[in-house]
Structure formats: structure tokens, C-alpha cells
Amino acid sequence: MEQNYVLLGTLVTPLVGAILALVSAHSNRLQRSIGVLAGLIAWVFCTALLAQVHSSGVQIYALGNWKPPYGIVLVADALGGLFAFMVTTIMIGGLLYTFHSHDKCMTYPAFVPLFLLMEVGLIGAMLTGDLFTLFVFMELMVLASVSLTAISDDHYGLEAALKYILISSMGTLFLLLGIGALYATFGTLNMAEIAVTLLTGERPLLAPASAIMLLCAFLLKSAVFPFHFWQPDFHTTAPTPISAMLSSIVVKVGVYGIFRLVTLLFIEEAPLLERWLSTLGIIGILFGSLGALRTYNAKRMLAYSTFAQIGFILVGIGWGQPLALIGAIVYAFNHAFIKSSLLMLMGVVASYTTTKTANFADISGIGSKLPPSLGWLVLIGGLSLAGIPPLNGFISKLTLIQGGVERQDWANLIIMVAAGILTVMYMVRAWQRIFQQNPLPGTVAAKDEGDSLFAPFLLICVCLLLGTVLAEPMIQLISETVRQLGDPQIYISAVNLPALEP
């Protein structure tokens, strides 16, 4: 059995970074440098891993050299590798943002270690091949993100954090119960081994129940209707880089889990699950877009818009055929970049106000005092979110709609296109209110100095590249990913092969 140490490196780097950052708690500057450095090294590892996955197949690392069905095994297939790559890339943006931020919470010694632990949880959840380890990593991610929101500069952060941890714990409980039910029926926690048994068509009593419990837990992590109500509060009150991570990559853990459910574990039940997913997705699209239109706070508007975007991805998964799955993954990949950059830009805008709020009442007309490049970046990000041609949002909408046309699901397509128009409306309106209006009388004057534009600028550049030069390689990469997803035997044989040897 071949052990892939690059795979281990992606997980261990941020973990070691977190420990080093804890040890160097005396110097905040050093902590932030360690954070950026660990993020960069993890990104290099993830890029190498993705290249390996696409050149020589699924990579595995058996922890402690225990043979797969008995020990915990880390598996990087095309889907996990791609999602981990997305996570590490955006994490660099978040860690860079902390470098030039004036928020008070970022001077706390726990900030950078928690940030890196959140990265460990995210990468681990996407690269593990063992259901119980998935639960542990997801819980690590939840606890880290909740703690980060609770120490936010926003006074209401604590309330939102308590709300989320109680709701998310319910989700965790059902995840654990579902995993327990699977263990009771199959006697194993290895996803590949469970998939082998399920592929034979055998359906023990507890298997469908555990499928529903796992699905509900993943939907809760992605904030899909009817498990969505905590999301706008939690994403609005978090510190800027954290809210950018929450709204872009943390919600994708649930999406990743759903992908695993419908393409690896419960393939036979997939049509039933998919029908539910597209219904919930359409409700999310309508609710999120309309909610974003009438909200009072720029960050909250983007949090509502995340509902709608997750809805688009779920509808793509719900259509289920390869072209729609390509659309869904492209959408998930691009949305992460667009949403994280937009939330950081709104955070920069908010950092220029004295109260650090993004309420439209306080930031209307503040644009005349901000650097002019900020306005352009927000406009580019907003148009990209709405799916205007030269940007990457257009590519994702295009591929997804192609999937829908192939499926001939016209009713849902009309709603999706209408939601795209709503996106243009709320993004352009927000941009006009911030950058085009005259300041309202009695508004507090803007400060001279705010957070640095560097990190969101980089992410917007990536968006531009993904929409033009990198669009074709990205689509090819994701088509290959979906081709691998179509055949669960690729994943299973990569994991189980050593066990078959006598």
C-alpha cells in the first residue's frame, strides 16, 4: 500500500501552524505571519495533491499505517481534492485580510489559532474516507467558527454564536445518530466499504433512515430551507474575514457531503433525495433573492444571497445528470471566490465607519470618501455574482443552465433566470447606495483609514481569471471530476484494494 505524505501534509500544516501560533501568543504580528505562512504551505500541498490526483488517480493515506477497513484512512479523490484546493485558496485570502485589519478581535491571541483550526476542520472533512472522522472534523470546524464569531467586534456576535451552536449541535447529534445507525447495520465506518455493501442492493432496516439523518445534518450545515434561520445572523455578525469564510467555504462542506451521499453511498435512493433537493433549492433561491432585496445591511444582504446561491447548487445536484453536476460543482467553486471577495469588500467599507457597521443607513454615500478602486471592485464582484459575461459568475450560470436545458426543466429554469435578475437588482442598488449617492444628512463622517484592499483585490483577480483565461481548464478539471463521480468503483477500488489482498 502506498502512503501519500502530501495528503497528510495538507492536514498537518495548518494544525502545526495553529500550535505554533498558540505558542507565539506574545507577538500578534508573528502570529499573523505564521497564519499566512501556514495557509500558503497548505495551499502548495493541496495544489500538488490535486495535480497528483489527476495524474495518477485517487490518493490515500492510512493513518498509523492501519489497513483501510480497520483504521482511519484519508482519501483524496477528484471531488475532495478540488474542494480542498478551493478551501485552501480562499483561506489564504482570509488570512491575508487579518494581516492588515484594525479589528480588535484580531489582536486576541486565540484568533489566528482558531482560524487555522477551522481550516484543519474544513480540509479534514473533505479529505477523510471515514464517516466518524468526518463528524469529528465537522465539529472542529463548527466549534472554531462559533468561537471566532463569539469574540467578534460586533456586539451581537455572542447572541448569534449561541443561537448557531445550539442549532448546529442538533445537526451534529443527528449526524452522529445517522453514523451510529450505519455502523449498527454495516459494522464499518469506512465510506468505501459501506458503499460496497450498498451497491449490492442490500437495504437493511436502518440504512434509509440514516440516509435521511445524514442529509438533514448536511442541509443544516449548508443553511438550506427549512434549516436556514440561523444563517443571516451568524454570517453578518462574524468578523469580516470569518464571515467571508463562513459564507463561501464553510457552507460548501454540506454541499460536499450531499455530493458524497448521492454519488457514492446512496446511489439507488438518489432520485428520491434529488427530487427533495431541487424543491428545497428552488425555495432557497426565491427566499434568498427576495430576502436580499429587502434587507437593511450590506453584509446581511450577501448572507441572504448565499441562500440563493446554495439553492442554485442544490437544483444542479437535483437534476442529477453529469452535465448538471458539472454545473453544480462549477457553481460551488466560483461562488466561493465571488462571495468571499464581496464580503471582504463590504468589510472594508464597514471598517471606514466609526461604528464598523455595514447598515445601509450608515454607509449610504460613504463612497465619496473611500478609495475609488473600492467602488470598482464592488461593482465587478456584484456583476460577477449576478452572472454578467466576462466574469466567472457567467460561466457558472451558463454551465448550470445547460444542465437544466438538457433536463428540460423549464419551470425551474425560469425561476433561476428571474433570480439572476433579482441579483443584479440588489447588487447594483447596494453599489449605488454606497458609492453613487450623496451622504445622508447627519451621517457620521468616515474615518481616514480602513482595512487593506489587498486580499479582496487578489480574490477579485482570481474571479476575473476564472472567467477568462482559466475558464476552460477549470471546466475540463471539473468534467473529469464528474466523470470520476459517475463511477463509484474508482473511489472504492482505491481504498479497498489493500484489504482484498490476503
Binding site: 466518524f132 463528524f135 469529528v136 465539529e139 463548527v142 466549534l143 462559533v146 468561537s147 463569539a150 456586539h155 451581537y156 455572542l158 447572541e159 448569534a160 454564536a161 449561541l162 443561537k163 451552536i165 445550539l166 449541535s169 442538533m170 451534529t172 447529534l173 452522529l176 445518530l177 451510529g180 455502523y183 449498527a184 465506518l189 445572523d233 455578525t237 437593511y296
Partner: protein
């Protein structure tokens, strides 16, 4: 017989846990969360404990005795650690909230409602 007892106690613990979690008092809600976690740990014990009668030592395996499943115990230990971590975090939040808002009634924590 033991299995029926286990099923009954898991059900009762679930009932108490859900009831407590839905209380307005945040401390009671946090304790309800802990009770729910013990219900699930008990569920894990119930599904895996009755396979064999001997501790899973190597000597017992070599002697050909039917050993119980060691993985269950590892899982429960991990689950206890995780639940303990989140439980203490919830209680910490409730502690700070009780000082900041002067109440632990979840109906009065409505500052986020605009």
C-alpha cells in the same frame, strides 16, 4: 431483556433531552443538549456491546474467545470528548450572556431582531 431496557432508556433520555432543549432557560437548554448526547452514546453502546462476552485483548482473541467490539468504545470516548467540548463552550457563552444581558431567558435575547 437488556436490549429492551436499553431501548427504553434511550427513548426516555431522548424525550427528556428534547424537552429540556426547547426550554426558554438557556442553562436548562444546555443541559438538555448534554442529555441528548448521552442518549446517543448509550445508543452506540447498545448497538455494539452484545457481540461477545470478553474484553478485546490480544490474548483473548488468540484463545479463540468471542470478544466484544473495541471500536465502539473508541467511538464513544471520542464522542464524549467532542460533546464535552461543545457543552463547555455553550455554558461559557451562557455565562457571558447572563452577565451582558442580565438574563438567561432566551426570549429576552432578541437584540438581533430588527
Amino acid at each position: 431483556m437488556t436490549e429492551v431496557l436499553f431501548a427504553l432508556s434511550i427513548g426516555i433520555l431522548f424525550g427528556i433531552g428534547v424537552f429540556q432543549l426547547l426550554r426558554r432557560d438557556l442553562i436548562k437548554a444546555a443541559i438538555g443538549f448534554a442529555i441528548l448526547f448521552s442518549a446517543i452514546n448509550l445508543f452506540f453502546v447498545a448497538v455494539g456491546a452484545f457481540e461477545g462476552d470478553f474484553a478485546p485483548y490480544v490474548s483473548n482473541v488468540e484463545a479463540g474467545r468471542q470478544t466484544s467490539d473495541p471500536l465502539i468504545q473508541a467511538l464513544i470516548l471520542t464522542a464524549i470528548v467532542v460533546s464535552f467540548g461543545s457543552f463547555s463552550l455553550v455554558l461559557g457563552f451562557v455565562n457571558i450572556i447572563s452577565r451582558r444581558y442580565d438574563t438567561v431567558d432566551s426570549n429576552d435575547l432578541n437584540k438581533l431582531k430588527h
